[in-house]
Symmetry: C2
Subunit: 153 residues, 2 copies
């Protein structure tokens, strides 16, 4: 992870010292391919209807986990915002006159930078899902895919 | 984490060898308190309308991250299913005649056991959120809370 903790804060933002030890660990189970290579290009929120087609590429040994996924119109995707700093508890994304708590935002800047989007599943091509509705940089690590039902998002 | 990888498989289930090295790490930022102390008691899915009130307790130093969260009727909660095995790519939750891929399910059994629920936010009491709509065991570790907007769940 890039260490961004020395980046300057915006007015009203608050950073905290990070805990010394982690509590749990993740594997990256795949990679997300999108048209966006710089953070400024990413949409603020993915659009499952009008957004561009993106690819979710599963790594081995996880590909048998896709069996049956084509029965779902929508899936939830969890991914790792590996470029975001993790020490801000209050943020000021619009340079306003006050800060908002990290947990009252969906910013990638958060203690555990796991992003979540519900995407439309267009096609399954072997170990690759073609979807609409993502918002992240090309190359973003994949953490999970879950069947999506209307009431559990 | 309890090692459950030697538990017997159900018919049609498939386990894979786990990767040697992890790719990313999490902090547990709080703890979830629910009425359920055994897995068999947990509902299959949380109910934000009729489900019981549950508590989400934030740890320090993260509590300033709640500023402004009371403006949201619903929040998304990510939590760590620390009792689930991580090596199954195909599962048979109903002992049926075939398996379903892990990514076509919402089972806690998955490579990265991060669960996600959208809950109704009833009250904020200092570092504690009172919510309805969870489905997990009492004591479940908290990974993230995000503002919830209808179209991003």
């Amino acid at each position: 992870m890039t260490d961004l903790s020395s980046d300057p804060l915006r007015p009203h933002e608050q950073a905290v010292p990070l805990p010394a030890a982690f509590d749990a660990q993740l594997w990256f189970i795949g990679r997300i391919r999108t048209p966006w290579t710089q953070r400024g290009q990413c949409p603020r929120r993915g659009d499952p209807v009008e957004g561009p087609e993106c690819r979710i590429e599963l790594f081995e040994p996880w590909t048998p986990g896709l069996t049956g996924i084509q029965r779902h119109d929508h899936v939830q995707v969890l991914y790792w915002m590996d470029r975001a700093r993790r020490d801000l508890v209050q943020q000021n994304p619009n340079y306003g006159d006050r800060a908002t708590g990290t947990f009252a935002l969906r910013s990638p800047v958060r203690p555990n930078p796991v992003a979540s989007s519900v995407v439309r599943l267009l096609a399954v091509e072997g170990p690759v899902l073609i979807v609409r509705g993502l918002d992240c940089l090309d190359g973003t690590p994949l953490v999970d895919i879950k069947a999506e039902f209307g009431n559990t998002r």
